[in-house]
Structure formats: C-alpha cells, structure tokens
Symmetry: C2
Subunit: 350 residues, 2 copies
C-alpha cells in the first residue's frame, strides 16, 4: 500500500481547490458538537452498549468502523433538530443512535459494493474483516437500529426511518445503473444523491420535530432543510474526490474516477466536451481502462469545462435552500448552528 505521505506528494495541483475558500465557518461542526456534547456522550454510550453481542466479531467489527470516527453528522442532526424544536427529554438519544446505526450499516455495505480499501483514512472494514462479515454485521446494525426505534415506540419515527432505508437502498441500486454510463444526466445524478445520501439527512432532521411533537409544518421545514443539506453535502463530497488532498480528506482520492462513477463534475465535463474528450471518458469511465496520468487529465478536463465551479454552485444553491427552510423554525442558537454547518460543509476542504 502506498503511504498517505507519498500519495500527497503525488497529488496534482488543482486550481479549483482554491475556489473552495476557507472561512470561519470551518469550525461550525466543532461548535455544533460542543453545543451538543452532553447529548452526544449519551448517544455514544448507547451506540457502544447496543453494538454488543455474544458473537465477539460483531462488536469488534462494528466497534472498528464506529470508533474510526467520522463526523457523527447524522446523529448530530437529530439532536440539533430536536433541540431546535425545544425538546427537553432524552428520547432523541436512542433515535440518534438508530440513525447512526443505519448510516454505519450502509457504509459497511457500500464498502463491499465499491470494493473500497480505505474508509476515513484507515483500512475499510471489508479489507480487515472480509466482505462476508461486513455484509452480516451491516445487517446486524440495521436490525439493531429498528430494535432501538421499537423501544422508543413511535410508529411515526419507524415509518420515517424504514422509508428512508428503502429509499437509500433504491438510490444505491440506481447508482449501480449510472456507474460506467456516460449518458448519466444531471437529473439522474441528483436522483441518486437525493436517495442515497439526502434521504437519511432528511429523516434524521424530521424525527427531531417528531419527538418534540411539533406541528407538521415544522417537520416539513426540517425535512426540506435535511434534504437540501444532504444534496449539497454529497455534491461537495464528489467534488473533493477529485480535488482534495488525500491526507486531508481522510480517504483515497480518485476513487470515483477509478470505479467509473458518474459524479456531477464529470457529468458536466462530459456534456460540455468534444469528441476527443468523449473518447477519453469512454475509455476511462465506461471501459475502465486507465493509465498513469489519466486521473490528472480528468481533473484538467473538468476544470477546463468549469465542472468544479458549476458543481459547487449547485451545492451552494441547495445550501441556500436548506438555510431558507430553517427560517420558519424558532429562532434560537441551534438554528444558527445548523445554518453554519451547511456553510461549513460547502466550504470544507476535506
């Protein structure tokens, strides 16, 4: 395996990376985590307790991927949404853990599907424990997530999260059909992203309003916030897979290119390219015949056609829609913190 430091030295200089400007909102996620630190500790305790099993491999593997860190963004969204809605109990702790379990299960299955070797800068679980265990422990966490919801006892929450889970799976299957398919349109890309990523953001936020027993209008507003935030988040993720420096992103860059995934920057570059460029994309993404220097050439083509800027523009528009959705909700510090993490996620470099 190539060490991260070596990879960094090889990373191409990408003009668009400077387009992603650094600003003070970069600390917004840390600030949100601090505001919710006590709640998050309870969530983490539930996560650790409920990944237990007499079958030792389960807590080992689940512990590996859960402990590998990650931003815990989705459970934070549930906690923040509940708090924004004025909720004062502790039901949201269990539900935030359920959300994280669904996310972790999809990560485990994604890595099997993508044959990823790295996840958050470390060996992915399937590399370390094998595909079989990753599939099955994903199933276990998914089931556990529903057990947690059943203990909570809200059929509304169960409805929202079981539906989100089905939509996520649909999105992942739809993505299989767009892989290696040069005809993938912006609309198809957005359909994939809305389902595979935004559906869980949306559900994580909505259940905050449900536990707080707020009127449907608030639940709708939080859904719209989550859905738009999720889309913005995934677009930026896909831009970074071409433009981030590996050590910063904490996972290999160029994965999407190597797997022939049709993400937004590429969709734009292909639609705006000439026949020679089209032949390049066909060879590299459709036939997945790749040589040294292809990735750097792909980055240059995307840049030439403003694929990064256009992608980030769309991310910003969804970010703005997310922030706008917050406006009908109570004005309190949590509302400001949620608006700030949208900014943070759009402007992040990792």
């Amino acid at each position: 395996m190539i060490m991260a430091a070596e990879r960094r030295a090889e990373a191409p200089k990408i003009p668009e990376a400077e387009g992603v400007k650094k600003d003070h909102s970069l600390e917004a996620l840390d600030r949100l985590s601090q505001m919710l630190a006590e709640d998050m500790q309870s969530v983490n305790r539930i996560i650790v307790a409920r990944m237990e099993s007499p079958v030792a491999l389960i807590p080992q593997l689940a512990g590996y991927i859960v402990a590998a860190g990650g931003k815990r963004l989705r459970p934070l969204l549930t906690l923040a949404s509940a708090e924004l809605c004025g909720y004062r109990g502790d039901r949201h702790h269990k539900l935030a853990a359920a959300v994280e379990f669904i996310h972790t299960a999809t990560l485990l299955h994604d890595d099997v599907v993508d044959e990823s070797e790295l996840r958050r800068g470390q060996d992915s679980a399937n590399t370390l424990f094998g595909n079989q265990a990753s599939v099955l422990v994903g199933d276990f966490l998914f089931s556990r997530s529903f057990e947690l919801m059943v203990e909570d006892g809200s059929l509304d929450v169960l409805r929202i999260l079981s539906h989100a889970s089905a939509v996520i799976a649909e999105g992942e299957v739809l993505q299989l059909a767009t892989n290696n398919n040069l005809r993938t349109s912006e609309a198809e890309y957005l359909a994939v992203v809305s389902a595979k990523t935004a559906a869980l953001f949306e559900a994580a936020c909505e259940i905050g309003a449900i536990v707080a027993e707020r009127p449907a209008a608030d639940a709708d507003a939080l859904r719209r916030f989550g859905a738009n935030f999720g889309i913005a988040f995934q677009i930026v993720d896909d831009v970074l897979d071409y433009s981030s420096r590996e050590a910063t992103l904490g996972k290999t860059i160029g994965d999407d290119f190597r797997e022939g995934k049709l993400t937004l920057p590429v969709v734009y570059a292909i639609s705006r390219g000439n026949d020679v460029e089209r032949a390049f994309w066909r060879r590299t993404l459709e036939n997945v015949e790749q040589r040294d220097g292809d990735f750097e050439h792909a980055v240059a083509l995307i840049a030439r056609h403003d694929g990064f800027d256009a992608s980030l523009d769309l991310a910003r528009r969804h970010g703005a829609a997310a922030s706008a959705a917050l406006m009908s909700l109570p004005q309190n510090p949590m509302r400001g913190a949620l608006a700030a993490i949208v900014e943070f996620c759009i402007n992040r470099e990792f």
Copy 2:
C-alpha cells in the same frame, strides 16, 4: 456450468438416503398450502406489489428470487399460526409478506457470503445480477419488510421481527467463526442453527398469535413450536446437503463440504473419527484442499460413524418437541396440518 442431469449421473450412491424414509406426510406441505391458498394469494399479491420500485433492477432481481419459488414455508407459518389461533382478519397477509421479505433478504446476502452459484436449482441472484445488486436489493427488501410492519402498526410485531433479524445476523456471523473450524461442537452448531434459521420460524409463528390477540401462553407455545421446527428443518437440510440427489434437492449438493462448513453430520463424524480421518477433515474442511473423490469419502466417513442417523435422531427429537408445543393450542384442522408439516420436513428427500 455442469447441467443438473450430468451432475445427477455423477451423484454417489449413498446408503443413508434410504434411511430418510418416504411416507404419506410428504404431501403435508402441499396440503397446508391448499388449506391456505386464498390467504397465500393475497400474500403473493402484496409481495409482488411491494417489491415494486421506480428503479427497474429492484423488481427484476427481487422478482427473480421470489418467483424462483421456494416453499414459502415461513409466510405459511404466519398464516397457519394466525388461523390456528382463530384469527379472522387480513392483517396476517401483510405480516406474512414481511416475513418472506426478511427471508428473501437473508437469502440474497447469504448467497453473496457463500459465493453460491445455484439457489433452488437455478443460477443464484448474485451469479446473474452481481454481488453488488444482491447486497443492495437485500437491503431494500429488508427495509420494505419494516415498512409493511409499520403499516400494520403493531409494536409487538415490530419488536419480535426486529429482534429476530438481529439474531439471524448474529447466527450468520457466528457461522463464519465455525466455518473451517474442526473444533466446532454440537452445541456451537445448534447455537448457529437456532439463530440463523430457527429465529425466523419462531417469530413467524409467534406473530400469528399476536395478530389474533391471544394470551401470552399461546404466543409462547407457538414460539416453542417454531423454534424446534426450525432447528429440525435446518438439521435435515444439512443432512440432505450430503445425501440428497441434486436434481431432487434443487440446489447443488456438497456445497457445505466444498465451503468447509461444520454441519452436524460432520461434527459427529469428526468427534468419532480416528487420527487418519481427522487428517482428512483437516485437509478438506480446514484447509479446503479438496480432490476428486473427497466428497464421496466424506459421505462414507459420516455414514461409518452414524453421523446421518444421529443427526436425523436429533432432528426428530426437535420435531417431537415442536409437535408437543402445539398440544396446548386449540385443537382444529390447522393444528393437525402444522404437526404434519413437521413430519414432512423431517422425512423429506429434498
């Protein structure tokens, strides 16, 4: 691929196959299906309607595996249990479909885990559609199953089936640890089987009592029936993987041997074998270095140590416990039909 007819010609003559005696109860499953034919039609309509998705690959793949037939044993158990308890509504249709979706999802994931090429005598879904789609469509069906339960609205049912799903995953992971492990004991084998197979039989039966709103004692009796039936069923399945003729079983035989699975007939043969035999098992099951004639030799060794008979004895004891559990329940034709399918499953040759 070798055709089924060619494989049959190669199948070894196994004395134990005669030990599994044919009797009149062989038609019991057909009889149960006929008694519940109308209900089962409703269940099938729900199954077909709810595997729908705008993502075409999902109904294609799900339709392939669901249409591939199978015995629909688990949804039949839910229908039969509800009817045995005197239930007269139609809630059990949706719940039986939910049970079948959980089963189908685990089959899809199992085939990925086992790298099986055949399922019910046809190409397995992962052979035809790829591992990626099988993992994701399994996730979709699993989510759909919970959506069906949420629509039904019983938290008791949700609790029972989410718990069963977690236990199934635990059983599958535990099985990974026993694979290629000659030290697997009868107790460990039974722990795997109780979890990976019997847990869903148990839950499928129990929810019949739940929809019928019967007292806890009846739900307990149906649990015990399902648990013991499930264990008996799986033991017989594992015996047949060594002794059935391929064309009859509808899947490849010898799969467990080729994958180095420590099923009960082998567990007995190993514990009763000498050092030379132990070396044979180590080479074939632990190191999975297999040559022509090894499978036939394995069958002969199991037979020499009464591994088939001892396994079937244990299956019969669990079958008897299953029938005994039925005794506290109302005496009606459905009770007789359930007792008969236990007999059928123990005496089946496929």
